[in-house]
């Protein structure tokens, strides 16, 4: 079966982004970018399913400007077979992204649609569920284990307080949690070979998707810092502070 993996280019998770002086947006000029970590889990899972002989072809897709080719090359180097960049300079929110991905799914007809459970830049965590809704397909979010037999995926999901297991018929949309797998490192020869794999540029206009811009970011700000704390020298001093200053331990 064919697997489609939708990925996003985000600021590296180790970087603490800064707010622009005018508060209009975050300043990500020259900041290190990479594949959203959860999306990397999604790519890895598709590759493992291919190694098991369940998936036969992996298509990686992302949306944005030409700079996004680097994460598609990364996906190809990991083991995706081909890649598609839906080209636009527009900034899309989750619903717009889901509408574009719906058009891609209709074109590619994958049996398995994999995404990360959330992007670590906007922390919305909506795209997979929205895509499933628009395609009228089953969804299995926050997957920590995926087992595919025939036309059905059994997915262990991470929920508050434990796990839940769902059986969904394919095609379905599944979003990856961190503990689904450990993504492989990309070796240099694979990166070289990835350059020979097909990467198609598809202008957004050719997909006939209408996206609205009903959500506006008015401003961004740095949250107020917690007031500076104090260092205590031992347990007794800690307890006395908690009891006398905070009154929270009896």
């Amino acid at each position: 079966m064919k697997a489609l993996v939708a990925i996003k280019r985000v600021v590296d998770y180790n970087i603490q982004v800064r707010v622009k002086a005018d508060g209009s947006d975050v300043d990500i000029d020259g900041v290190k970018m990479g594949v959203n970590p959860f999306d990397e889990n999604a790519i890895e899972e598709a590759i493992r399913l291919k190694e098991k002989g369940i998936v036969t072809e992996i298509v990686a897709v992302t949306i944005g400007g030409a700079a996004n080719q680097d994460i598609l090359r990364h996906a190809l180097a990991m083991g995706a077979d081909r890649a598609m960049l839906v080209e636009t300079q527009d900034t899309l929110h989750s619903l717009g992204v889901a509408k574009v991905l719906k058009a891609v799914v209709e074109r590619e007809q994958p049996q398995l649609i994999l995404l990360g459970k959330q992007a670590i830049d906007d922390d919305a965590g909506q795209t997979g569920q929205m895509l499933a809704a628009l395609l009228k397909l089953p969804q299995a979010t926050y997957a920590s284990q995926i087992t595919i037999e025939g036309n059905q995926a059994t997915v262990v999901r991470e929920i508050d307080g434990g796990t839940q297991t769902l059986a969904v018929s394919l095609p379905a949309v599944i979003t990856a949690d961190l503990r689904l797998n450990e993504p492989r490192y990309v070796k240099l020869p694979n990166l070289m070979m990835a350059r020979k794999k097909p990467l198609e540029n598809v202008p957004l206009e050719t997909l006939n998707v209408s996206v609205t811009h009903n959500v506006q970011q008015l401003k961004v700000a740095t949250p107020p810092a917690r007031p500076a704390g104090i260092m205590v020298k031992d347990v007794n001093e800690l307890l006395s502070k908690l009891r006398t200053h905070e009154g929270i331990i009896g």
């Binding site: 619903l95 569920q129 089953p138 917690r226 031992d234 347990v235 307890l239």
Partner: protein, 309 residues
């Protein structure tokens, strides 16, 4: 127009975050209805009807709602939405699974994990692991959002709202509940606990995690949390993870033991009233957000602290 709250529950008890969502919903100054979708909804409906600020409780009952899927819940909620300008829930693994599906079916955007409701269509929410606060405005006709429960006080009980039964469509095919496994614990739930004791990678093993963290949590009647590093290393189950991709907590007292304090972890606990950090590394990031820091060997001082309580 009206506001609809999607209530989370475990089949018997309303999640305590529902009462917080009720408070958040008052911001629109219009009647607030609560949807209970359950197999046996009567007791749940009574709990919701008792919350002050609730105008009416809508009850959808179906055997399949013993273990509802997002697909089934969305099919129940979407036909109701014509009567509502706001659909909201407290942010949780439950609501963030269901509400994006609802929003897409309504062809509207969704705002996740809203920290502050500025006005009827403008919100403050965290982006980049909470390192940046974004003020966003939605011009959609129906506002669909989840709110951070800890930012809103719980509505008090003592009222008696009207309870109305609505018809629930049958569960759609394609998605089927198979099993659930909850980590049993006598301790309070992480999101509701007044005290949280969290352990990090410095604990070094699952045994050490249990032997050092659990007794202190017992003494303080605290919930136990963990950093992602501790969860990834297998020291603690993943539902204890506090942070950007885990649970967000805001207890009165948060004790971070052997946690370095990466921004992803800070996201999950920096709204705690008092933060205590115990770490051997004086340069650890956690000390920058702690009210009280103790540079020490956790294996020495945590048992001391436990014994002194």
């Amino acid at each position: 127009m009206r506001t609809l709250i999607i209530a989370e529950h475990d089949g018997q008890h309303l999640n305590e975050q529902v009462a917080r969502a009720v408070t958040a919903a008052q911001q629109w100054q219009q009647p607030v209805d609560v949807l209970i979708a359950a197999a046996q909804p009567d007791a749940l409906a009574a709990q919701a009807a008792a919350l002050q600020g609730v105008s009416s409780v809508l009850v959808a009952s179906d055997a399949a709602l013993q273990h509802p899927t997002a697909e089934h819940l969305a099919d129940i909620i979407v036909p109701l939405a014509a009567n509502y300008t706001v659909v909201l829930a407290a942010h949780s693994a439950f609501s963030k699974n269901v509400l994006p599906r609802v929003a897409a079916l309504l062809d509207v955007n969704m705002l996740s994990d809203v920290l502050e409701i500025v006005n009827a269509n403008t919100y403050v929410r965290g982006i980049y692991a909470g390192n940046v606060l974004a003020t966003v405005q939605s011009s959609d006709a129906i506002q669909v959002l989840t709110v951070r429960g800890s930012k809103f006080a719980a509505a008090a009980a003592g009222a008696t709202a009207e309870v109305k039964t609505i018809t629930a469509p049958a569960a759609p095919e394609g998605s089927r509940w198979v099993a659930e496994a909850f980590n049993k614990s006598e301790r309070p739930a992480l999101t509701a606990a007044k005290v949280v004791v969290s352990g990090g990678r410095a604990l070094g093993s699952a045994d050490a995690f249990a032997q050092v963290i659990a007794p202190l949590a017992d003494k303080l009647h605290a919930a136990i949390g963990a950093s992602r590093a501790a969860v990834d290393a297998g020291y603690a189950p993943n539902d204890l993870q506090v942070g950007q991709t885990g649970v967000v907590v805001a207890p009165e007292l948060y004790i971070a033991v052997g946690i370095s304090g990466a921004i992803q972890h800070a996201y999950g606990m920096k709204d705690s009233k008092v933060v205590v950090a115990i770490n051997q590394d004086p340069e650890a990031q956690i000390f920058k957000i702690a009210d009280y820091g103790l540079v020490a060997d956790l294996f020495e001082v945590v048992p001391q602290l436990t014994a002194a309580l």
